[in-house]
Amino acid sequence: MNTDITRASAAEIADALGRKEISAVEVTQAHLDRIAAVDGKVHAFLHVDSDGALAAARDIDERRAAGEELSVMAGVPIAVKDVMATKGIPTTCGSKILEGWIPPYDATLVSRLRAAGMPILGKTNMDEFAMGSSTEHSAYGPTRNPWDLERIPGGSGGGSSAAVAAFEAPWAIGTDTGGSIRQPAAVTGTVGTKPTYGGVSRYGLVALASSLDQAGPCSRTVLDAALLHSVIGGHDPLDSTSINAPAPPVVEAARRGDVKGMRIGVVKELGGEGYQAGVRARFEESVQLLVEAGAEVVEVSCPSFDYALAAYYLILPSEASSNLAKFDAMRYGLRVLPEGVDDPSAEQVMAATRDAGFGDEVKRRIILGTYALSSGYYDAYYGQAQKVRTLISRDFAAAFEKADVLLSPTAPTTAFRLGEKLDDPMAMYLNDIATIPANLAGVPGMSLPSGLADEDGLPTGVQILAPATEDARLYGVGAVLEKLLAQRWGGSLLAQAPDLTAKGA
């Protein structure tokens, strides 16, 4: 049955395609149908490329029929966060300033997806220029959490996670600068990984904070995330900051999954006060499950993590203020003329366009970043934040002497209501308190579902962190935990999500 295929994992779909039980066109069409059925409510997608996706699917079917050897994932469709440049497909970064912009090139990551034969269903919604934790800062309206349409799906990559959680796509590409893959994964009951910094090419990833951004997989299972990670990861000569090595052996680790003798570090500074009771409860159970599976728990302390949020909200705006300067109405994107001005100058057009085209959060961070970099303030703000970053990195290094992986709740709360934190930027920033340290140090992190919180029945996530380049450990531990939790739940967590096609949903 066509509709069932949307419930399958990407690995299962790949198997079915490989055994020729189903065609790529059927798979893609099924997902397009699902999008048509539910995206009116969820709004995960900013652009659906039916023609392009079906054409790619047809091409795969023809080649498979002709006996050509194809990549394992050929024909499995995917959604891509609208921050990645996709040739011929509109790319907005969730902003008005790029409305209608069609890139003349593909991001390296996107080229790899296309080369692997994955039809691209469309581009997913996001907080404008990836600045946010709820997708409410999208200039095109928020995405809604499939678990409760009045609630946020997390951010900045709420679209990708929601698409995956709502079975509109088997998997998706997200990006994570301070938690934008992991936090949405946690609040939507899905899986998301931020690879080691430099592990996945940033060429074509519209930059927010260059030294923090990473693209990664969003999926419903740990194995799927591993499969996608292995396609997109690995050195790219077009990205000077990419690690000169192929993607780590994540698929193997996900399949093997063994935690016997592993030391699990629980970070004292991540998970105490300020974390919702249900979040903490599910976290402690996850830790306990790993102990039962043979791991040992150690408590570690990373005192500089208390300064992580502050350092992050100095470094990110600084780099962003520079990265976003290119949006000036001269070469592409929106051009707005200032009102009531005859014969405006280039400078005036730039300023009018940027005021009209950028949302409030983006403007806030640009101004903040401009300040932090300005002469006289650089040392106290940006300069100092980069030193705190070194300390955070050292704390991680020390922790990883005592533990093989670190665990924490991914986010302090479950999905809050739309509008609840919009008027309080600092409250919004606190959503990333557990995820930010990993970006500052460049270490990899994964979030997978740890269960539903008792008080509101909403998904919670557990975060696994590993030393830089040891992404495989995330998958090894994640696979074990996933299996044990599934046994406890009698199936996947998402099976408990409400039916979006039911009347009144």
Binding site: W101, I102, P104, T196, Y197, G198, S211, P237, S240, T241, I243, Y307, A310, A311, Y313, L314, S321, A325, D328, M330, R331, Y332, G333, L334, R335, A346, E347, Q348, V349, M350, A351, A352, R354, D355, F358, K363, R364, I366, I367, L368, T370, Y371, S374, Y377, A380, Y381, G383, Q384, A385, Q386, K387, V388, R389, T390, L391, P425, M426, Y429, A441, G442
Partner: protein, 98 residues
């Protein structure tokens, strides 16, 4: 140090080429002050002898050979241009001489 006046914000907006309305300016002063107070926390850390970190990964000397690679066509380059003429990007009159 941890507070921004309205004039400061207006000056920064000028540097950042964003034409904020008066209402936006007023709102932003308040918001930024709150945020600045929080992020100023980094100054509590004694870090005199700590080196700043600008890259998480200790890579060096990443270069490419001096070999020509295909460019975009002029059409592709100008495709998104708000205005173009004579195969060039048309921009409004520039005030400042560089």
């Amino acid at each position: 140090m941890s507070s921004l006046s309205r004039d400061d914000v207006a000056h920064l907006a000028g540097l950042a080429r964003i034409d904020l309305s008066d209402a936006e300016l007023d709102k932003m002063v308040g918001e930024l002050s709150v945020i600045l107070e929080s992020v100023a926390k980094v100054q509590e850390v004694a870090a005199d002898d700590i080196p700043p970190m600008s890259h998480p990964m200790p890579l060096t000397n990443v270069t490419r050979p001096d070999e020509v690679r295909p460019s975009l066509s002029a059409d592709e380059a100008l495709a998104g241009a708000p205005a173009s003429e004579l195969q060039r990007f048309s921009v409004p009159r520039i005030l400042a001489e560089d």
